[in-house]
């Protein structure tokens, strides 16, 4: 097909249609007049500085091959190997080279060899619309833009495809400084055309999609397929899209807002109205810029410690737990007195398979023959409130949070029967409890980790249970029924079985340690107690982190405490270097260097 005149007619028809539909402002703002000329020489000189802005960080070779968008674009980048990056045949360029859309009625036009390729034209357009001072890229009303018209570009929403959009977003991602604010207003865009937005501009702070064609919640899902996308977005404008306008027309404005708000975790303003929210003093740009040491330790600074109970009578905690779990296993309805009348309860199933338990093979161990019978269905169907799974469903989020003794007992009775061997081996449970502020008074935060048998199957599960407790007041129903402390909140996590060895008090290892000493006993079980008493006394004076390192190096090398300390000191307390150093010199060491 050969068309000698630029196919402006189809474009102006589309533009007029949009205008008539009221979807494009008649006087869509253009940031600058730009150079209206179409001659190549003039163009180049007109945008030299801006081209420098975007290309100066890249090797000059990329400027020689401007179709390569990024110096780092590898084969994993579809745009680098298909579409825009494909070299064109001499003298001709497919009009939609970057869209690859064969459906377009004008699939190719003859153009002069010197005419810039589509991606270069888009780059010129993006550069023109970029305000680096404000970090603002204004891509509104693309179809009306002089540069777009000049090169016969087909913007997404006006005949262009998702790939055209991706090319534009990729060019935007290369701007310096990074784009913070992006307007795509008045472009007739649908969700399909925006699927690559979060990939190329994941750190956007403000986004306007005003006056586009987003109709459906599913299109929002295309823009943010998962909640870890666009996690920095503070402000979003969807005004003038059917999705929003129809919701408001139907009196569903609040539902629309909560739907959108749930998908963008950090959003503070939607359609120019603030969102009620809780915020945090998390990392700030100022603090993140502070020079700090990267995490580079190769050992844990502290050991695994035993159960920790402070600020409260340990007997009180034990009594509560024994009474609670006995009633939980035996007669759940009697727990109604243990909960405050306004108490909250929920349970969550973490169905992931723990890596260490899988390695050990608990799933198929002979000691626990019923593990294969366990199923998650009962728990998942029974109202698991794992917000990772159901956080997007406001009904479930509400229903699966149980408030007040009666509701709580009712759901507890519906859950599988359990046996917590709370009177059995104490090492199978781990407890941390300490006082916390609660309003103007104090409460007790109590966490319990352990295991229970699911009676229906006989299988064993692990659990974490967290209670927020306050003293039972005199004359309260709890007090009258023998509960000295009463539950305000109760959260129960049920997960696949992991051994209680996880919290056995001992040094913690970051990496596996292989015992290299010949004929040496296996290093498992090697501890501070493996040193003679006089050496233990020396080690007791060391800071805990250093003591742990000595234990670790001696477990590998069998060096005695004195030599182990010397070796570590010489190597700046770096375990890896110290072991390497030991291996260099071990043949020259006397017997008395060893344990």
């Amino acid at each position: 097909m050969s068309v000698s005149a630029p196919p402006a007619s189809s474009k102006s028809i589309a533009t007029n249609a949009l205008r008539n539909a009221g979807l494009i402002d008649r006087d869509a703002p253009m940031r600058d007049g730009d150079n209206p000329g179409g001659r190549k020489g003039k163009l180049r000189s007109g945008r030299t500085t801006r081209m420098m802005d975007i290309t100066k960080d890249r090797p000059s070779s990329t400027r020689m091959h401007p179709i390569r968008l990024s110096a780092s674009a590898g084969p994993s980048d579809p745009l680098a190997i298909r579409g825009a990056a494909r070299p064109v045949m001499s003298g001709r360029i497919r009009r939609n080279a970057i869209s690859g859309s064969p459906a377009n009625s004008i699939s190719s036009i003859p153009i002069r060899v010197t005419k810039p390729k589509a991606v270069d034209s888009w780059r010129e357009f993006v550069q023109k619309r970029w305000n680096p001072e404000l970090k603002y890229l204004n891509l509104d009303s693309m179809i009306e833009d002089e540069t777009v018209k000049k090169y016969n570009l087909t913007p997404p929403g006006a005949g262009g495809s998702a790939r055209d959009a991706a090319v534009i977003f990729k060019l935007a991602s290369q701007l310096k400084p990074e784009v913070e604010t992006l307007s795509l207003a008045n472009n007739n865009l649908t969700g399909t055309l925006l699927v690559q937005l979060s990939r190329y501009l994941p750190k956007l702070l403000n986004l306007s999609l005003q006056n586009n064609k987003i109709r459906d919640k599913k299109e929002i899902t295309m823009i943010v397929p998962r909640k870890d996308k666009m996690i920095h977005l503070r402000e979003l404008v969807l005004t003038g899209n059917p999705l929003r306008e129809q919701a408001y027309k139907a009196g569903q404005g609040a539902t629309y807002r909560s739907d959108i708000v749930r998908r963008f975790t950090s959003l503070a303003v939607l359609d120019q109205e603030p969102i009620a929210q809780i915020s945090f003093d998390g990392p700030q740009p100022s603090t993140s810029a502070m020079p700090v040491e990267k995490p580079n330790a190769t050992t844990f600074p502290f050991d695994m410690n035993p159960s920790f109970v402070t600020g409260v009578d340990g007997g009180l905690v034990s009594k509560f737990l024994i009474n609670f779990f006995n009633a939980f296993d035996g007669q759940r309805e009697s727990l109604i007195n243990a909960y405050d009348p306004a108490a909250t309860f929920s349970f969550s199933a973490n169905t992931s398979i723990p890596a260490r338990a899988r390695l050990v093979g608990f799933h198929s161990s002979r000691e626990m023959p019923n593990q294969r019978k366990l199923e998650w269905k009962t728990w998942l169907d029974g109202g698991s409130r794992n917000l990772n799974r159901i956080g997007g469903d406001p009904q479930k989020t509400l229903q699966n949070l149980h408030v007040g003794g009666e509701q709580i007992i009712s759901v507890l009775r519906s859950l599988p029967s359990t046996a917590h061997d709370i009177g059995g081996p104490p090492e199978k449970f781990c407890i941390d409890a300490f006082p916390v502020m609660h309003g103007q008074s104090m409460g007790l935060l109590l966490t319990v980790h352990g295991q229970f048998t699911e009676l229906g199957t006989g299988g064993i599960r692990s659990f974490d249970r967290t209670f927020m407790l306050v003293p039972a007041t005199e004359g309260s129903r709890a007090k009258a029924n023998g509960w000295d402390i009463v539950i305000l909140s109760d959260q129960w996590i049920i997960r696949s079985y992991s051994s209680h060895e996880a919290w056995k008090p001992s040094p913690l290892l970051v990496q596996a340690v292989v015992n290299k000493s010949q004929n040496g006993p296996a290093n498992s079980g090697f501890s501070l107690m493996s040193f003679p008493p006089d050496q233990q006394a020396v080690l007791a004076q060391l800071p805990e982190a250093q003591r742990n390192l000595v234990v670790q190096i001696s477990s590998q090398t069998r060096l005695n405490a004195k030599f182990a300390i010397d070796c570590l000191q010489l190597n700046g307390w770096d375990l890896g270097k110290a072991v390497a150093n030991f291996n260099q010199v071990k043949s020259s060491l006397d017997r008395d260097a060893f344990l």
Binding site: R234, V261, T265, S266, A268, A276, Q277, I278, S279, F280, D281, G282, T287, S288, M290, V292, K294, P295, N296, T299, F300, P301, F302, F308, T310, D340, T344, S348, T351, A355, V360, N386, L387, N388, T397, L401, C430, D432, F434, V436, M437, H438, T447, H449, T466, M468, P471, T473, S489, Q491, I493, S498, A502, W503, P505, L508, V510, Q511, A512, V514
Partner: protein, 161 residues
């Protein structure tokens, strides 16, 4: 001391709490796992925050710094979390529990070459972490629509698998 709350929870309270927990868990573990952890994590805490790490207590943002300064690099994966507004105070404190796994150092790839296949060291641990997020009425708001600014009042973590 009265345990009886003066207000009941509304669906709106629960929605705000749910979203806060979602946001918090994301930014908290991103900060924990980042190269700039030592700068990013302390702002979540205040001087009266109480922490325990595997049964060892720490106090305040300073304690937190002491705890994480020599902690190996981490990679957390949140597999489950839940959040309640704790009844009895307004605005309510939030009780958040998180279950997931955490890899320290270089993970299995960082183990010595002759490590037995079944060795568990270096592989991800299961962690269980509980936070109480507390409103700070004195903190100036920084966002439009901000109900309150919350900080970590209590934080208890254990490796449990």
């Amino acid at each position: 001391m009265s345990a009886t709350p003066s207000t009941t929870l509304t669906p709106n309270d629960i929605e705000i709490a749910t979203r806060a927990a979602d946001h918090f868990t994301r930014i908290y573990y991103t900060a924990y796992d980042s190269d700039t952890r030592l700068a990013d994590l302390p702002p979540f805490y205040r001087s009266n925050s109480s922490l325990t790490w595997n049964g060892k207590p720490f106090q305040g943002a300073e304690g937190l710094k002491e705890l994480v300064a020599k902690m190996p690099a981490t990679k957390h994966e949140v597999q489950s979390f839940d959040c309640h507004p704790i009844p009895g105070a307004q605005p309510p404190s939030l009780l958040i529990t998180v279950s997931g796994n955490v890899t320290h150092g270089r993970g299995p790839a960082g183990n010595p070459p002759d490590t037995p296949v079944r060795a568990i060291e270096g592989h991800p641990r299961v962690f269980s972490q509980t936070f109480i997020l507390v409103p700070d009425p004195t903190a100036p708001p920084t966002k439009p629509g901000e109900v309150a600014k919350y900080y970590v009042g209590a934080d208890a973590v254990r490796f449990v698998g």
